[in-house]
Point group: C2
Chain length 289, copies 2
């Protein structure tokens, strides 16, 4: 069996996007993102051959939805608490030089992740976050993760980004939510409203405020984003004592979460999520020797 040390291809393979990292001598030599997420791929064997054709005929270690029942093959979840060792031990071998990192599950209450675990463990591995910390990965399905001794100890997923996308595209508020989200007063007003944890009523308020001439549509998307992110932050911080929350996200979305976290009196710390992924998958590959 070939292992994934020093020089290999790492693939962060999600539902709609994919990022290939060429790892040479334990460092990222090159990285490239494209839209070939698992929903765009039928023949994963052919796709893996195409990746090797483009980036080099090397061992390949993948993570993310590629390991789900809509991906190449389903890699059973590893139960939390899970660290580098548990993930390395749970690799799903497709063939001698191709494998998938499993996701992590928890049952109190039921929750799952696939792909995020590599970033999380890598953030600690690379010293980008402490070994005991609260990390958040904003997005369609936002993950809030309690790391203990460098392992994923427990987590909660909120479909905050998906709700925002649904509201922007369908239903009563869609016509009002077309504007770009800006980090300004309307966003912060939304974060404040989010403290009520009363989404269904606060959302209707966006419509009523328009009908009564209380808020311009130009600000409605920013307010709605603040409301959804603010509700998410309020629900999570209610039961979390950490002073600093570490954010793994692109800078635009990361700065919105940072503002909401700071509005709640905590400190936000942004981490480079691609660097974290690379550190995580290199560590998993190395442990698998």
């Amino acid at each position: 069996v070939v292992n994934f040390t020093r020089t290999f291809l790492a693939v962060d393979w999600g539902t709609t996007n994919r990022r290939v990292f060429v790892i040479e001598e334990g460092r990222v030599a090159r990285t490239e993102r494209d839209g070939r997420g698992v929903t765009a791929v039928d023949d994963f064997e052919a796709e893996a051959a195409a990746i090797r054709g483009r980036f080099g005929d090397l061992p390949m270690l993948m993570a993310g939805m590629v390991g789900s029942n809509i991906g190449w093959r389903a890699a059973p979840y590893v139960p939390a608490p899970a660290g580098i060792s548990e993930l390395a031990a749970g690799l799903l071998r497709i063939n001698e030089r191709t494998a998938i990192v499993p996701g992590v599950s928890t049952t109190g209450p039921a929750d799952v992740m696939r792909g995020e675990e590599v970033q999380l463990l890598g953030a600690v591995e690379a010293g980008l976050a402490p070994a005991n910390a609260l990390l958040v990965q904003p997005g369609t399905h936002c993950k809030w993760v309690e790391m203990t001794a460098g392992r994923v100890a427990g987590f909660t997923t909120a479909m905050t980004g998906e709700l925002f996308a649904l509201l922007r595209k369908h239903g009563l508020l869609a016509a009002q939510l077309g504007s770009e989200v800006r980090l300004g007063q309307a966003f912060l007003d939304g974060v404040e409203e989010g403290r009520k944890r009363d989404l269904a009523a606060s959302l209707f308020g966006i419509r009523a405020s328009k009908l009564l001439g209380e808020r311009d549509d130009e600000d409605a998307a920013s307010f709605a984003s603040g409301l959804l992110i603010g509700s998410d932050v309020a629900a999570r911080l209610e039961t979390q004592g950490h002073d600093t929350i570490h954010i793994l996200a692109d800078p635009a979305l990361g700065s919105l979460y940072a503002a909401a976290i700071e509005a709640h009196g905590r400190t936000a710390h942004l981490i480079d999520s691609h660097a974290a992924f690379a550190a995580g998958i290199i560590a998993i590959g190395a442990r698998n020797e």
Copy 2:
């Protein structure tokens, strides 16, 4: 000016549906529902003529979205507190024998209603609810209304039904939420989960529970309905001391809200919403003499 006393046509004219009541000598002689809501109508003059052709060439008093900017003509909102007198004084006259009942607005926080006010005031007028009470009108946009001395004193709208419809039709959970909603243990489990007031996370839990084999898809729609209704009930009852909550709804949806209200230790009382509408519009017409 013709008035709306004793014998006239009353129309409860909403976005997607419409109900015509033939009022003869102050009583409902006949009522009929159809799908000619305001979004299905272009020429309201012609539509009114068609109603008179079908039900009698009588004065016509309308309420609901027909008085909005997507209806026949916009009737300005009457600010709460509002009773029969204020609505009768605020009638929008289309012509000598055709008028629209205005909606009601409140500004702390911003909220609006159109059509519900007639049912609410009618419920008290007909003795179906006390003059000081908390009433709820479940639906796409669920109204919770504080009645004081028989007037609409204040209210909150939650887009509970709309969120459920969006989730059922679009996005990650749609494939799981196809089953019929039943009032059973899964619904009550959802109501319990709704107490957390953490919709975005609880909704993702529906997905995770499926992936981990913890709940059958057959029960997912009932759980999701319980979660959304339960969150709505939990948010409202937190600030409302009424022991009894009066529900204006069709029996199916009304029984779901009743179960959620009772799970919160309050008493639910179902009211016939069509009888309430008729009593309300007859009272408004009579006050307008």
